[in-house]
């Protein structure tokens, strides 16, 4: 990381001078992985993953980051398949359909025996590396009796509001929309109308919503079941809790795939194998604050115990890709009232 930031600084000084000089030489060459920002941040899994992988492959693992999963896919589109990525790590199942259709990826060729995600996994192009569940996170100092189901949450007194994200601009916002859709099907309009009354405001992204929540402006926010674990383990704060809903929780599965360029790099397959091994998986929970998809070689910290609900909900990627626009319009129609 340090070296990378030094490099970033150097980049600035020579501004337009391109990427020359940056590649460290290692026996087996370089593997370039596109991923999202928080993965490579000082506090993210990136630095540990890099160290662990480089120790075993005698190669140079280079991360290139974009803001989030959506930005990653856009970067691939903007580069039109001429980018440097061997592997793209950090798309979620809502994006894989479009990414596959655009022809950026090749089949990963891995047996799927190592990985287990609720509901199973059989995608030929993408391999999951972690997953999480969306949840209503509440401040237990304001709310003493949290709702135990989506129905109860929607019907509750509107004085305790929630802040949610916009499905047009944000992944969790899209997740909540699909969650409601999966529970209520075509009869979801009434649920949306109730949600509208429960909502203080709709933010463009997760950060704005979570900021309003931790600011104390609002006692509930849409986030992940793993959010409380962060506050417990990193900040020693246990006031924030996830409400468990009877109907089940909508999932987000994060995946990685090998690009057409990466198909020629033998390191790509090595990395995909490494990704579902305990060397990688053990880093994930307490740096990416998501759940591992394979054996981590140790027990999960008890702070994560409440993070795994009994019932997982997920719509098929092709359904989402086909229906998203229509659903967003319906969402807009009701939520704009």
């Amino acid at each position: 990381m340090r070296i990378k930031h030094m490099r970033a600084f150097g980049m600035m000084l020579i501004a337009a001078v391109s990427l020359a000089a940056t590649q460290a030489k290692a026996e087996n060459g370089t593997l370039t992985v596109y991923t999202y920002d928080s993965f490579v941040a000082d506090w993210g899994p990136g630095p540990q993953v890099e160290a662990a992988f480089e120790a075993q492959c005698d190669c140079d693992l280079e991360f290139v980051s974009a803001a989030d999963g959506v930005a990653l896919l856009n970067r691939l589109r903007l580069e039109g398949g001429n980018g440097r990525a061997d592997i793209v790590l950090g798309l979620d199942t809502n994006l894989t359909e479009e990414a596959t259709a655009a022809g950026f990826f090749v089949e990963h060729g891995q047996t799927l025996s190592e990985t287990s995600v609720p509901g199973g996994w059989d995608d030929k192009f993408f391999l999951p590396f972690d997953y999480g569940y969306f949840a209503v996170i509440y401040d237990s100092e304001t709310i003493s009796e949290p709702p135990t189901s989506m129905a109860e949450f929607l019907a509750a007194d509107a004085s305790n509001k929630i802040v949610i994200q916009d499905p047009r601009t944000s992944t969790p916002g899209l997740g909540l929309m699909l969650w409601l859709r999966e529970i209520y099907g075509d009869e979801w309009e009434e649920a949306l109308a109730k949600l509208n009354e429960r909502t203080l405001t709709v933010t463009p992204g997760w950060s704005e919503a979570y900021g309003l929540f931790t600011n104390g402006e609002v006692p509930m926010v849409l986030s992940y079941t793993t959010s409380p674990a962060y506050h417990i383990l990193a900040e020693e704060i246990d006031r924030y809790k996830a409400a468990t809903f009877e109907e089940g929780h909508y999932m987000q599965i994060e995946v990685a795939g090998i690009t057409t360029k990466g198909a020629d790099n033998p390191l790509s397959t090595v990395f995909m194998e490494f990704m579902v091994s305990s060397g990688f998986q053990s880093i994930i929970p307490e740096t990416n604050w998501m759940l591992p998809v394979a054996d981590t070689g140790a027990e999960l910290d008890p702070a994560f115990l409440n993070a795994i609900p009994e019932k997982a909900l997920l719509l098929a990627p092709e359904t989402v890709a086909a229906q998203r626009k229509q659903w967003v319009d319906e969402w807009l129609g009701v939520m704009s009232r």
């Binding site: 970033a8 928080s38 997760w206």
Partner: protein, 542 residues
């Protein structure tokens, strides 16, 4: 006397060419992305889609809301800026003026997420005022909805208007003060007959600037708007460009936004451009420069009260940032290598783009006509930063690795976006300078480079440096452009702020926002200090 469509300053033909070059560069900078998007969207762009978009109720609602909130925000910001400005000029203590000027330079630099959270901490349903009114057993109104959007936009833009008008008035010939004093003009009458005449020319330009900033506002509109009924066109553009990657739709929406807001800006900027009132006062200023308006009351209660309210309105959200930032162990956060690197990156980009913006502004101000000056750079603002960045990415990727050129693009786009601000800040000073010194320069035969060196630059040190500092501040706070280019190789402070917010680290993010604010505070403070040190032609405006 110069007619308004004449250039501000007599010039040689090569400076005219330079100005044309800058204009062409601006046009290329803004139009290339559109062409690139058009070429790429070719497959998905159908003109029957255009009709579809123009009749889409979601788009129409967004358009209507964009215009309403932007118009209200502009009227409120300017309407409130004028009494605050009057009060500011009536306070005689220089330190009060300096403090207000410094504070009022800061809001625009704040990343929107930080500003919105700070505003909520003060004015929100669980904010400071709500806590206070709860104690007093009275209600506190919800800010979510149009009210919150206007609140945030006034927070950003009222101070901006005050700063630009104030800068304009500082270049008012001192004879005006003297004359007004001799005539016994006071209070509102004095303002109406003296100051109002001077700032009248800038109102249209400043209004169009603010209108644009508000029309293209995105994060605070969604965050404080209370739901998707408060949606601007910019949200729809962002959605189709970034989330849906529907280039055809994005392009049509962009064209719609450019057409509508462009028309409004043209109307505002082409409003009556009256001549600098009574420039025939232009006698030697040396004798009058130390003129002190003795009969101005030392302290007027109502001005002071108004100024305090305005100061608190802008200052309290910064108070929230300072309190939160200081509790986050800021020194430890600031000393992280990633933060130091991002700070260095931000400063380098900021200085480079401020340099470019000031240079462009000088070239334009030196040779282009007043009307061109009012319209062209502001029109550059119509193009959303995300459109410029995405379009340029698409353009240069044919030839090079676009992300390697990201820093250069960020610098140029930031400079173009700061240009209208810099021009607003320096144009009145240039005008006044021409009226007052033009004849003398002509008489002495000073022109070309020596005119800049001997006459213009020394006299206009303050507005130039202020313009430079403003451009620096704007670039430092920019996230829109970096958002698309940003990667592990191009991390600026705002990028790092968003990145911290995105990983539960809102405390660290606020500490970084505090760092960002301090940097801008120092830059603007230094500019003022430096400009006033030994000698711009008038030691102080009062």
């Amino acid at each position: 006397m110069a007619r308004s469509d004449e250039p501000l300053i007599a010039h040689s033909s090569y400076s005219k060419w330079l100005a044309r070059l800058v204009l062409i560069a601006l046009a290329v900078l803004c139009l290339t992305p559109l062409v690139a998007l058009g070429v790429l969207a070719n497959a998905s762009l159908r003109f029957d889609q255009a009709a579809l978009i123009l009749t889409d109720p979601v788009v129409l609602r967004a358009l209507r809301f964009t215009l309403i909130q932007a118009a209200l925000s502009t009227v409120l910001s300017i309407g409130l800026a004028i009494p605050v400005l009057m009060a500011l000029r009536q306070i005689q203590y220089a330190w009060v003026q300096q403090t207000v000027r410094l504070l009022f330079s800061l809001p625009l630099v704040l990343p929107q997420i930080v500003a919105a959270l700070a505003i909520v901490a003060v004015f929100g349903q669980n904010g400071w005022f709500a806590a206070l009114t709860n104690e007093l057993q009275v209600g506190w109104p919800s800010i979510y909805g149009l009210g919150g959007i206007l609140l945030a936009h006034v927070f950003f833009n009222m101070p901006l208007a005050v700063r630009i008008f104030d800068q304009t008035l500082q270049s008012m010939p001192p004879e005006y003060d003297k004359m007004a004093a001799q005539l016994g003009l006071k209070g509102f009458h004095r303002f109406r007959l003296v100051e109002a005449v001077v700032i009248r020319n800038s109102v249209g330009g400043v209004a169009s600037l603010i209108f644009f900033l508000c029309a293209t506002s995105f994060t605070v509109v969604l965050m404080l708007g209370g739901g998707p009924r408060s949606t601007t066109l910019e949200v729809a553009i962002y959605q189709s460009l970034a989330f849906d990657f529907d280039l055809g739709r994005a392009l049509l929406l962009i064209l719609l936004q450019i057409a509508v807001t462009g028309m409004i800006v043209l109307t505002l900027s082409l409003g009556p451009q009256s001549e600098l009132g009574g420039s025939n006062f232009s006698i030697s200023d040396q004798a009058t420069s130390r003129f002190v308006v003795v009969d101005r009351p030392r302290l007027r209660f109502d001005s002071f009260a108004l100024l305090i309210v305005a100061f608190l309105f802008v200052g309290l959200p910064f108070g929230a940032i300072i309190i939160d930032g200081l509790s986050a162990n800021p020194l430890q956060v600031w000393a992280k290598p990633s933060v130091l690197a991002a700070t260095a990156t931000s400063v380098v980009i900021g200085v480079a783009s401020a340099f470019l913006a000031t240079l462009f502004a000088l070239v334009l101000a030196g040779a282009a006509s007043t009307r061109t000056l009012a319209v062209v750079p502001t029109l550059a603002l119509v193009f959303p930063p995300i459109v410029l960045s995405a379009g340029w990415l698409l353009t240069i990727r044919q030839f090079v690795d676009p992300f390697a050129f990201a820093p250069a693009l960020v610098i140029v786009i930031n400079a173009a976006m700061a240009l209208p601000f810099v021009i607003r800040i320096i144009e009145q000073a240039l005008k006044t300078h021409r009226v007052r010194h033009g004849p003398l320069e002509a008489q002495l035969g000073i022109n070309g480079w020596s005119r800049w060196r001997l006459s213009v630059l020394p006299a206009l040190k303050l507005p130039f440096l202020t313009g430079f500092a403003f451009a620096f501040a704007l670039s430092l706070g920019d996230f829109g452009v970096v958002a698309l280019f940003g990667s592990d190789r191009l991390q600026t402070l705002p990028y790092l702020i968003y990145s911290n917010f995105g990983s539960y680290r809102s405390q660290d993010a606020i500490a970084l926002a505090l760092l960002l604010t301090s940097l801008v505070f120092s830059a603007i403070g230094l500019a003022e200090l430096f400009a006033r040190y030994d000698g711009s032609e008038r030691a102080a405006p009062l």
